[in-house]
Amino acid sequence: MDDSKPHILIIGAGFTGCALAYDLAQRGLKVTVIERGEIASGTSGRTHGLLHSGGRYCVNDQESARECIQENIILRKIVHQCIEFNGGLFVALTDEDLAYAPKFAEGAQACGIEIEQITTQQALRLEPNLNPKVLAVFTVPDGSFDPLRLALAFAASAKHLGADFYPYHESKAVLFDSQGRVNGASVWDRTSGRTFDLTADLVVNATGAWAGHVLKGTRAVVSVTPTPGVMVAYDRRLINRPINRLTEPSDGDIIIPQRRMSVIGTTSYEVEDVDYIPVEDAQIEQMRRDAIALVPAVAQCNMRGAYMSARPLVGKGQSGRSLARTFKCFDHTESDGIDNLVTITGGKATTCRGMAEKTADLVCQKLGISTPCATREQPLRSYRDFYLPRGGRK
């Protein structure tokens, strides 16, 4: 590794950290990623795995919707290896849902999301297990993905370009030089018990819902509201496309096919501690009812798994659903007078590459590097290449 290159330390190997490592390595920087657990073992791994078309946000949060459709198209091109792409449906079940339809159609058009209204009969031919009482149906370009493999594909591509990944290495403290600038992190290697200092020219805090936690001990502040939601997986693949409820974002508004499963999501409430969030019975029961409303055959399925994921929503003081799903990059020089420290949080799995691009732009701008982003076109490496020994396959 060329020591003259600026060295960026990324804390967190979720979608954002892995995509950012790839972008920065692509721009020629030396990158090290530390992650306290396995790759994608926080919020990222536990996503329901929807490759958003943006339809969910096209009425209330058009900025997120536009980000989603742009990135949806890019991800299908660069990382199809871990995506089931069969399109999706938005379905109206009540008069209230029907009243939302014109706003939905208008919003989708405004955001550049290709939708088409089809008849109930057509919808039931496409998805025989759909509730036959649906009142209106739109097709959208949704898909679903495997969360761990999506993160690994970005990480594998970053590694191929020289980035180093250290799973099971936890940041204990952000380190400062004598001028008060950030210059690395104190790292706890949880595989050996050893603690050591990692120096870097710039540190990126990509820990999502844990962003505030990692900055403890510094005067930097980020306003992130960890907002968990429950997801329940059933043991049969009843649909080939994600089925969305044609309504504003709400609980139990989507059921997604994945491998041999159907996964319903989700709820939304706020917590302070995100290290362990219990799954509540009442929420599982609620998800089951909502799933049956969309796809009645769920009633004949067995539950295969139930899990919880904490969205990192940017902002505080409003209720979770009203916070935008877009992302935010904090330059702590500007917000807190701390040099060489950047935080990226918020956003969604679907927009991880775009989040990485914006963050890498900021990092490069701070370092006076003008290399443009080059992650939009080229397919990523196979996710399995993350496990290649240095120097390639034997």
Binding site: G37, E38, R190, T191, Y276, D281
Partner: protein, 244 residues
């Protein structure tokens, strides 16, 4: 989930750095309807922050959380506590066998993943060709060409349970051979025979079917290995009569 509460003893394999592995016990109150992985995660969250374990999706799509629970390979995110112990009982959690242990419950999957890549293991497959030949009408079919993520989630449970993998790391192992069978059935790639028609390939298997017994994801590796043998023999016979 339920209102019922059990008190159990988790006996977890710990290993840091070069030290030999040892067991450490934790008393835990559990809901018998929660998953083993939830209990392991709680040990980390509230009792031992040094505990390392692999996990990501928590709903059996990623395959990261394969472990041995009371001596049997389990995908811990979908294994109910009730199915492996009882109130007042023990739950022994160990890393998968036949893989190098990195730390505690974390194993090094590098060779395994690289072999899967060598077998051109499918990642996304056509829905219509995604089930085993003896399974019928599993998925809705509207006549269109749908795709889905394949069944094998690369959890390594089959390799851990395999008595032959225990005898030699050279054996390709059930997941890789099953992947080769799927690759051949989907694409007809003849080069796959070079990989599997070897002493450490399909012929090393002793038909114990342990892999199929523990597979959490409907791959049926043992059936696929037997089918791969049939394909290899068919190929050899054709070759004998001059086919290339």
């Amino acid at each position: 989930m339920s209102q019922e509460r059990w008190n159990i003893t988790m006996i977890i394999s710990k290993k840091k750095g070069e030290e030999p592995a040892h067991f450490q016990s934790f008393k835990l109150e559990v809901d018998p309807e929660e998953y083993v992985l939830d209990a392991v995660e709680r040990v980390w969250a509230f009792h031992d922050r040094s505990l390392t374990f692999r996990h990501a999706c928590h709903h059996s799509t990623c395959g990261a959380c394969g472990m041995r629970v009371n001596g049997v390979e389990k995908l811990t995110c979908i294994t109910l506590v009730r199915s492996v112990t009882h109130n007042g009982g023990e739950m022994k959690v160990e890393p998968l066998r036949n893989f190098p242990v990195v730390s505690d419950l974390v194993v090094d999957m590098s060779d395994f993943y690289n072999r899967m890549e060598e077998a051109s293991a499918a990642q996304v497959v056509p829905v219509r060709k995604s089930a085993l030949p003896y399974e019928h009408d599993l998925f809705p079919d509207d006549g269109m060409d749908h795709e889905r993520l394949t069944d094998c989630i690369e959890c390594g449970c089959c390799v851990s349970a395999c008595p032959i993998a225990l005898t030699t790391p050279a054996y390709l192992g059930p997941a890789v051979l099953a992947a080769a069978q799927q690759t051949h059935s989907l694409s007809g790639k003849p080069c796959i025979f070079d990989l599997v028609d070897t002493a450490d390939g399909v012929w090393r298997c002793h038909s114990g079917f342990e892999c199929t017994a523990v597979c959490p994801s409907n791959v049926d590796p043992a059936w696929r290995i037997m089918d791969m043998r049939r394909r290899v023999i068919g190929h050899r016979i054709k070759h004998l009569f001059g086919a290339k």
